[in-house]
Amino acid sequence: MIERKSLLLFLLFVALSISQGLLEAKELRKVSLEEVLSIGRLDDDTLFQWAGVAVDPQGNIYLSDAMDYSLKRFDSQGNLIKKAGGKGQGPGEFMAPRLLDCSENYLYATDQDFRGLKVFDRELNFVRNIMIKMLVSDLRILSDSEIAVTSLPMLEKPAVFIFDQEGKLVREIKYSDRDSPLMMDVVSFDFDQERNLYLAYNFQDRIEKWSKTGEKLWSINLLKVKKVKKKKVSSFVVPTELVFKDVAIDGEGNLFVLGGHFSQNRSCDVYVLNPEGKHLATFTLPDTSHCIYIDGKNCLYSRANQGITLKKFRMDYVYQ
C-alpha cells in the first residue's frame, strides 16, 4: 500500500516537472494587434497634437496636447471628461506639454522648457511643481517618492536620476562614463517590476539592461546599424537619424522597443525582446508613432494621423 502511494507521488512529481518545463519553454513568437479604441479624428477638434500618454488602473486615459497647451482626461470609452492647463508659465500652465506618467494618486507632466515636473491630481487639478533643475527628456513614475528621469547628457553625465517627491536626488544610475559626441547618449528608458532598468539609445543601435544596483546585465545591437548619419549644424555635429524612439514593458516582463528611421517600416516597427535580451518578435503599427505605452492590461497605445489620433490596441500573444 505504501509502495503504491509512493509510486503515485513519484508519478505526480514527474508530471508536474514536465508541465513546468513545458510552461518555461513557452516562448512568445508573434504579437497581433486588435484596435479597441480610437480617440480624435481628422474632422473633429478632440486632439490637435498629442505628445504624452498615461493610463491609470481604472483605464482612464490622460494625454498632453502640445498644440493647445493642455492635459486631457478621457474615460475608458474614450469620452473627454476634463481638460486642464492652458498656455502660460503660471501654476498648471504649459508652454510645450510633453511627457506624462501617473502614480496611484497623481499625474506627472513635463513642459519642454521647464526644469522640473508639474503634478496634477487624477481630476487634473494642479497640485504643485517639483523643481529638479534639469530639463526632462524621459520620465517614469515608480511611486510618488521615486520619480525617475533622464536629462539630455550635455550638462550632466549620462544617467537615470531618481528623485523623491520634494525633488531631492535619491540615487542615480550612470549608464556611461565617457564623453560621447553630442546627443549620442540620449536614451528612452523603462523599469520592470524588479526595478531593473532598460535603455534604448535614440541615436545608437544599442539596447541595454541594468540591474537595480547599477550593474550592466546585457547590451545588444539589434538592428546591426553601423553608422548613424550626422550633420554639421552651426559649429556642431549632430546625429540626424533615430535608431530607437521609445521603450515599454508589458505585464510579463517583455520589452517593447519602437524603431525609428532604420526600421523596415519607419517609426512603425516594434521589436519584442525577452528579459534576457533575446529578440522574440517584431510587429508593425498601422501608423507612424513617436512613442508606445503599455497599460496594466497589456493594451498598447500609439499615435495616428500625426498626433490627431490616439489608438488603443489589444495585444494577442502567440506562443511557440
Binding site: 519642454q112 539630455l152 552651426s234 559649429s235 533615430l242 519607419r266 517609426s267 498626433g307
Partner: protein, 70 residues
C-alpha cells in the same frame, strides 16, 4: 588722396564679397523646415555662450526628430 581712399574702398569691397561667399559656403546645407534648420536657428538665437540655451535647443531638436519627422 582720393585714389588712396578709392583703393581702400575697393579692398573692403573685395573682402566683403569674399566674406559673403564664404558665409554662403558655411551655411548649413539643410532643407527648409527641417529639424536641423530649426536647431540652427535656435542655436543662433541663444548662442553657445549659454549652455542651458543649447540644452533647450537640443530638447526641441530631439522632439522634432521623434515627433515631426516620423
Amino acid at each position: 588722396m582720393f585714389l588712396h581712399v578709392l583703393k581702400r574702398l575697393k579692398t573692403i569691397a573685395i573682402l566683403l564679397a569674399v566674406f559673403v561667399l564664404l558665409s554662403s559656403f558655411l551655411a548649413v546645407p539643410v532643407e527648409a523646415g527641417s529639424c536641423e534648420t530649426a536647431l540652427f536657428a535656435c542655436w543662433d538665437d541663444f548662442g553657445w555662450m549659454a549652455l542651458s540655451g543649447a540644452v533647450f535647443c537640443a530638447a526641441g531638436y530631439i522632439f522634432c526628430k521623434k515627433y515631426i519627422r516620423g
